[in-house]
Structure formats: C-alpha cells, structure tokens
Point group: C2
C-alpha cells in the first residue's frame, strides 16, 4: 500500500443510539465531512505524522453512556415537576441527563470520548409552553432547585452544563413555533426554541404559510445555523455570517418576554424609546442566568436572493486586506452582508481545503500573490437590486486601490457550500487525536495587529500547532478576529491548559473575551478582570435581583457565582 494511496478510514456511519459519540457528534447523525486528501497530507506534514498514525482510531466514544449517579432530588420533587410539565416531558434516564448537559466544546468532545462525564442534572424537563416554564421556575425557586437551560446545545463555552444538578430545561423540544408575522411592522413573534432552518423557511415561505404579501428573511446565519435556535442567538449575543449588514442578534431583537424567579414580563414594542435604561437590552446576553426567554419579537427583512451580488478578492498582504476592509466599512456607501478576510495562514490552508486549481495558484504566484503573504477576502451584498450593485461596485474599486485581484464570486460560492458544515470535520480529526477548536474576540482597528500577532505568537509557541485567523463581522470601528487552532493532542487536560492560555493571550492583547460566542462557564473566570470590579458588580446586582435564590444557570455562568 503506497503512501499516496492510503486514506484514513474516515467514519461514514451514524453513531449508534445511546453512545457517547451520538452525543458529541456535531449536527445530523448521518452527515459527514472528511478532510480532503490535500488536508490529510498537510496534517501529516505539520504534525510530523505518517500513515501509520492513521491506521487505527483512538477513543471513538462508541460505548453506551453509563452515568451511575443517583438522582439527588426527592421523589416528591420529581413528582411535582412531572405534574407541571406532564410525566412524558420529564426524563430521568442516564442518556438524557448526559445529552442535555453537553455542548459542543472540544474539551467536552475529548471528555466524552474518554467516557468522562462532568456535571449533569437530575431531571431533564421539556416544557410545553410558557405557562409550563412559569410554573416550573416558580416551583424550583420555592424549592431552591437549580434550573439550567438547554436549547440547541451547540454552545461552545459549557453554557448548558448543569453545574449544580437539578433541572435541565430543554426549550427547543416543544417551544419551537413561529406564532405571527406582522407585515406592517416587519416583525415576527416566535418561540425561542425554533431552529434556524425552520425559522428561515417559514419566513421565506410567508405568502404560502401565513398569507403574507411578501417573502422575508431572518438575516441571522451563524455557522451553527442548523443547530442553533432563535432564543439561543439572543441570550448568548450571537452574530450571523451576514451581520455586517443585518446586525448582530442584539440588533435584530425587537422585544422579549422572560420568566424569572421574581416574575414574568414582556418588554415594550417600540422602535426606540427614551424612557431610561432599556430593560429589553439588559436581558440580551443574560445566558439564562437572570431568567428564561419564553417568547420574542424579532425584526425581519425582505427576502431578495435574486439581488445578491457575490465578490471575492486576493490581497497581496494582510495589511492591504485590513486597510481595504476598514475603508469599505467607513466610506458610507452601504454595507456588504457577508464580508470576510482570511490571514495568510488561513488563506493558504483554506485554498488547500477548498481545492484551488493549480492553474489559479500559478497565476497568483506569477502576479506576486505569494503563499503565506496573500490574503483571501470574500462576501456578498444583499438588499435592493440597485443598492447591491452599487455596494459591490464600490467594494471592487476599493479592493483594486489596495492592489487586490478579483476572483469573481467563485470563492464565495465555494464557501457557501461549506458555510455550515465545517464543524463536521471535528469527529474525523478527533478519531486520530487531532483537535480543532476556535476562540474569537472583537477588536478596534487600532489594536487589530497587536491582537492578531499576540495570539498567533502564543499558539505558535506550541510546536507544530496550526493557527488560522479570519475577520468576519465588520463595523466602522473595528471587527472580530476568529482564531482556529489545530493541534495533535491526546490529553484533555493538556488541551484545556493550552486553550485557557489562548484566552489569557486574547485578554493580554486587548481583545474582548468574546465577540459572539458568549461567556458560559468557560470564559466566566476571566470576566471580573475583563470588565473590572465595578461593571462586574452591576451584573452581580442584576443576577441577585432576578434570581435571589441563585437557581438560574448557577455555578459560574457569566462568571457570576
């Protein structure tokens, strides 16, 4: 068997029911995305591995989940909970308790491969509606039973881990309907557990489904779109891939209804107010620590895919890509929807991943766009037809001014095909002890290079570690940096230490702790230093106000307790 011909036995089978792997596998159990051959060669080269290292898999997590922990709640408490939500909506089995305690961090995946189970809840509850949530929270507050919220479970910061047992409250099982479209206001009332694709499809098909005059789009397409919910976007402050035009989740919310231990309330439906600090905004990003989002009114946008203008460019350097992007964001001719720039390492590895034709590579080299210097940019423009044409034309002119070469809409189209599927590669790589993970931060233009270089230097201080960076959410004042790191690493504890070091490095280089992944329990310990005592005290005060008994997502969420 020659080296050229060998290809690892990438898994093509859905994980068996009841196994650890069925919990940590990303997305559709029957969907897979394998590293390309070029990527496989690159991995072997960078990590100094050979085909031999890919002959057999390690720790696939194919064992049935076995928890062997008793339920700490009293039988009478369980019965009361069952009375509130119905017996069929309160599960006590091992598998449910582990599944609904798990998100999608790399460390959880490594743990579960090793059969390591961290904190779980005693009972997993699936409320049928907001009245169930209200009654359940009131009961748990009286009995001081912790409640941890789970929606789609694609959290990457241990945000749904029931640190103190009690109840895992799963919002997405039943509370996942679109309730009403208001065409005059261009708003939609929706339950928080509705998944991205169902939500977007309902809006796209508004004429057929709701008798609307027009078609709409939600404007929010995070990479986790298929495995995230409307409520999750809001309470973790997510950003979609088209946020540069549509805004972050923070901007797309119109009003919200919350159930908290001290009461239920709905924020007001106004396009703007000057009636003091806005409670509607205070609740965004509260990550279940103040209360539970039970209904939301979102802004929606006209669905006009026929007007979409795609573009992609190769810039000679990272500096050129950054400077052009800043000019685009500050020039006031409108904004692109999707807009991304990749640093040299991501550009080169990405071109391998997507499979750039040799002829294009040769042409780029010939024109002076050299590997490990050149930077890819791609994106699109959405909105009115004349607007998208204008904005695309303006972006092209600025790109040219900064010595970029147009690659037409080709790279964007290629990217669109894989925009939601990148996470699927994690399992394949993990089968051979290769861990891929990401961290991200926001940053002003004047600190972008320091943050980029500082975090890269830290990641690269570990020999043979890949670090790919892109900026993907743009504002006139700055952008985010999204760091993807890949390492050959067996030991979960080694990984944990390394990853915490990256967070330290982001903090030291002046990045925000999170641009759109939220805080959860993973980033919590850095919050006080990051915000400062005075601002952390504001969050603590709000926590104490809404949740005097400390039952809501307790145990470190947002760094609070």
């Amino acid at each position: 068997m020659s080296s050229k011909k060998f290809r690892p036995d990438w898994t093509e089978k859905a994980p068996p029911d009841g196994t650890y792997r069925s919990i940590f596998k990303y997305g559709d159990p029957n969907s897979f995305k394998h590293p390309s051959d070029a990527w496989y060669e690159m991995i072997k080269h960078d990590f100094n591995l050979s085909d031999k290292d890919f002959m057999s898999k390690n720790k696939e997590g194919l064992e049935p989940v076995s928890l062997k922990r008793s339920v700490a709640l009293k039988a009478q408490q369980i019965e009361s909970i069952q009375n509130i939500v119905g017996k069929e909506n309160a599960a006590l089995d091992d598998y449910s308790r582990v599944k609904y305690a798990s998100g999608k961090t790399a460390e959880e995946m490594m743990d579960l491969r090793h059969g390591i189970i961290r904190e779980v809840a005693d009972v997993v509850v699936h409320p049928r509606d907001k009245n169930d949530v209200r009654d359940l929270v009131a009961y748990c507050n009286r009995e001081k039973i912790p409640v941890t919220v789970f929606s789609a479970g694609s959290s990457v910061n241990l945000g749904c881990r029931p640190a103190r047992g009690g109840v895992s409250l799963v919002i997405s099982t039943h509370m996942n309907k679109l309730l009403e479209i208001n065409e005059l206001n261009q708003t939609v009332r929706v339950q928080p557990g509705m998944f991205g694709p169902a939500y977007e499809e309902a809006l796209n098909k508004a004429p057929e489904l709701f008798g609307c005059k027009k078609r709409y789009t939600c404007g929010h397409f995070p990479q986790s779109f298929e495995y995230s919910t409307v409520g999750g976007w809001i309470v973790t402050l997510g950003s979609g891939q088209a946020s540069t035009y549509y805004g972050d989740a923070y901007d797309i919310v119109f009003s919200q209804e919350y159930v908290t231990p001290v009461g239920t309330f709905k924020t007001l439906d106004y396009p703007a107010t000057a009636t003091g600090p806005k409670v509607n905004d205070i609740m965004k990003g509260s990550e279940g620590a103040f209360g539970i989002l039970v209904e939301v009114t979102m802004k929606i946008f006209l669905y006009m895919p026929q007007n979409r203008q795609r573009f992609s460019f190769m810039y000679p350097t990272w500096d050129a890509a950054v400077n052009a992007s800043r000019e685009i964001m500050q020039s006031e001719f409108g904004k692109p929807a999707i807009y991304r720039i990749s640093d040299p390492e991501e550009t080169d590895r990405g071109l391998k991943l997507y499979g750039m034709p040799d002829i294009v590579d040769k042409f780029l080299n010939l024109r002076g766009f050299k590997p490990m210097r050149r930077c890819l940019s791609l994106g699109n423009v959405e909105g009115d037809r004349d607007y998208t044409r204008l904005v695309a034309r303006k972006i092209k002119a600025i790109a040219r001014k900064h010595k970029a070469i147009s690659l037409t809409g080709y790279a964007t189209k290629k990217w669109e095909h894989t925009r939601y599927t990148e996470p699927y590669m994690r399992e394949d790589l993990g089968d051979y002890d290769i861990v891929i993970d990401t961290l991200e931060a926001s940053v002003t233009w004047d600190n972008l290079h320091r943050l980029h270089q500082g975090v890269r230097a830290y990641v690269k201080s570990r020999p043979g570690t890949m670090c790919m960076t892109h900026a993907s959410h743009f504002y006139p004042q700055g952008t985010n940096l999204y760091f993807v790191f890949i390492a050959h690493m067996k030991d979960p504890e080694e990984f944990r230490k390394f990853q915490r070091g990256i967070i330290d490095s982001i903090q030291q280089c002046g990045g925000s702790l999170s641009h759109h992944h939220g805080v959860g329990r993973m980033i919590g310990p850095w919050m006080k230093t990051h915000l400062g005592k005075e601002q952390m005290d504001v969050l603590r005060t709000l926590k104490k106000h809404f949740d005097p008994n400390g039952i809501m997502n307790p145990g470190g969420q947002l760094g609070l307790d």
Copy 2:
C-alpha cells in the same frame, strides 16, 4: 390704526441680567424669531383674539430674581465643597441657584414669568475635571448631600430640577473639550459638557485643529443642537434630526466613563461584545440617577456635505405619506438622513409660517392637494456621492407611486434655515399668554393612526387649541410622533393639567412615554404603569446599586423615588 397694519410689539431686546426672563428665554439672549404676519392672523383667528389683546404684554418676567431662601447645607459642608472644586467654582447666589435649577419646559417658563420658583439647590458647583466630580460625589455620598446634574439646561421634563436641594453640578462650564480624535477607529474622546456647535465644528475642522487626514461630522443634530451637550444627548437618549441615517444618541456612543457613589468605571472599547448584558448600554439614559458621565468616546462619520441630496414632496393625504414612508424605510436601498412628514394641520400651518407663495398654493389646490388633507414631507440624504443619489432617486420613485408631487429641495432648504430656531418663538407668544409646547412618543406602524387620532382628539377637546403633528425619526418598524400644541392659556395650573392629560392620552393610545425627550421628573409618575412593575423594579435595583444613599438626581427622576 387699521387691523392690517397692526403688529404686536415683539420683544427685540436681550433680557436684562439677573431677571427671570434671562433664565427662561431660549438660546442666545440677542436672538429672536417672531411669528410671521400670517401666523399672527392665524392665532387671532383660532383663539378668537383681536389686536386689542396684543396691545400690552403680560408677565414678561423682567423682575430681578429674588429667592429669599437660606442655604440648608452647613457652613462646613460648603467649605468642604469649595475646597474640592475651588471657591470660584461654587456659587451660592440666588441667581445661580435659580438658573441652574431651571430647564426649558413651558411650565417652568410660565412659573418664572409669575416669579414662582420651585426647588433649587443650595450651592451651584462647576467641577473643573473628572477628578473634581469624583471627589465631589464621594464627599456628597458620605455626607448624604443630593447632587443634581445640569449641562446645557435645555431639558423639557424638569430633568435638572434639584428636587431635594443640595448641589447643582454644572458639567458644561469647564468639562467641554474635545480630547482626541482616533481616525483609525473613527471615534472621538470628548468631555460630556461640550456643546453641539463647538463639537461639530471641531470635527468639521479636524485637519486644521487636530492634524487629521479627513473631516468628520458627529451625525447628531437635535433641534436643541445649539443648547445641548454631548453628555446630555446620551444620558437622556436624545435623537438628532438626521437620526434615520446616523442613529439615535444610543447608537452613536462607543464607550463611557462614569463617576458613581459606588465607584468610577469606564466601559470597554469594542465594536461589539458577547460578554453578557452590556454595562455600556445600561448606563445610557440613566439621566444622572445612577452617576455622572465624565467622559465619552463617540463614533464619528465622514463629513461630506457636498454629497447631500435634498428632497421634498407634497402627498395628497396623511395615509399616503405614512404608507410611502413605511415603504421607504423597509425597502433596503439605504436610508435618508433627515426625513420628516407633517400631518395636515402641521402642513397647512407650517406653510403659513414659512410663507408659501400664493402661486404654489393655487397650483397645489388645482392638482388636488387640498388644505387639511395634503401632507408635506422633506428631508435629505447624506453619505457617499453615489449612495446619496441612489437613495434620493429611490425615495422619489416611491413618493410618486403614492401620488406625491415633488417640491424639489426647496422646502428642505427653507426648513434648514429655521431648524434650530423654532423654540425662539415661545417668548413672543408667551408675552401674550399663548403657550406652545410639545410632547412626543414612538410607535410601531400598526399603531400610528390610533395614536395620532387619539392624541389629536384629546388636544382638540379643548376648544380652539392647535395640534400639529409630525414624524421625524424613522425605523423599519415604526417612527415617532411629535405633537406640537398651542393654546391661549394664562394659568400655569390649567396648563399643567392639560399637558398631563396629553401624556395620559399618549399612554392610553399605546405610544411610548418618550421617544427622545427622556423622562426627567415630569414623565416619571407614568413610568411604573408604562414599564410594568417588573421592569420598573429593574431600574430601581440599578438605582439602589449605584446610589445606595439616594443622592444622585433624587426626587422622582426616571420615576425612581
């Protein structure tokens, strides 16, 4: 003397120093704006008055201010305060105490004309910098001395009234400098007491004054622009006349530094974050009740007046104007900067005020644009040259579709000349017991007509009262309604009752209590009903957190105590 020739003796003299009038007169003491002859005729007609009623003025407030109230603070406290800010920056005289306790509500003007003085502070303090503010707040917190903040004093809701005496802290006297322009980030660090014109001029002249490469604009131009400050815009949640493009004050703030009784902090400089509820946003709109804004970083925009495109239209009906506006705001081709529509009563009275040529009136009538049905719309587009052309073209097309006739940029230009001077007419009218005042609310599209009709019905239930309405701040989800009411009314108490009735009416018809005027002490009593107990409790909790001794703007600000 024939009726035609008679013209009231409108005041053309600056009010003498030390008088009540010198306090309540709006703006530049030497600037005046008199009602046009057509307006004078209209007033006489509508209020059933004759020239005789305008022969002599009532209650001009030309008497010297006389307070005759002792200072409640102890001599030692006064001395301590003087030691902190310097003796020259702590005033105890009657005039200062009254002046810095007064805003620009109609009721304050009526009171002062009658020599009625409401609550005043004991001492008026002008801190030199943020260290002075920090020391003063710490001292007052220890001694439990109330502190009420005053900046430009153009508050229209009793927001700077020192309801419990103590200190009036005047932020605009010394803390009014632009500190730094960051061209990379397009942000500016500025002290909160800087007035609009000085701020805008510094940005326009950034190359000459700060060695910048480009010219900038602040994007925030409220009617009170000349007599309002950057800090006031933020803590009261103001909106500028061009907010439809640039955003409300809420949107233009990048980060803030506050001095509070429990400590000083600066919010973080990031274009976006997902690190929990945003303390930067929680502080906006806090109206001095949580602490004092001592420094702010604002977003700025490219100054490109050469690209400005003006437009104005006459719509056949209010319905047509509203429907066209909604289509413009939801069509996603970009946004106008200034955008306004006037209802039929405001259109007709406005045309009289601005002096529409007879020939235009005849032409409009001939074309079917009838008085008390037709509605004026005007505005402009700012930004990149091609962008402004595109947006103006699109607006024109939508206006035509809704049967509007273009009046070119003429009406906008006329309006621009008076955009900041309308309030000057108040004194002239007040001299003859004619009171002009405004209230405003935000509203979603689906409730606009109910609010408009409901409030008009209430105002019109008082015989002979004018009610002119416009919408001037637009969003895809709705707009604001700005009600201008004019009545012939002598008695301050009658006025107060009438005006409170309008607030009731706004509330009953589902408008917000304030779109951009803030809450102050005037709207405070409605807050609990408006927000509901649960949300009001959030504000109370924050108040208690920042200000445990209740010294910051105490006595009803935001409806808090």
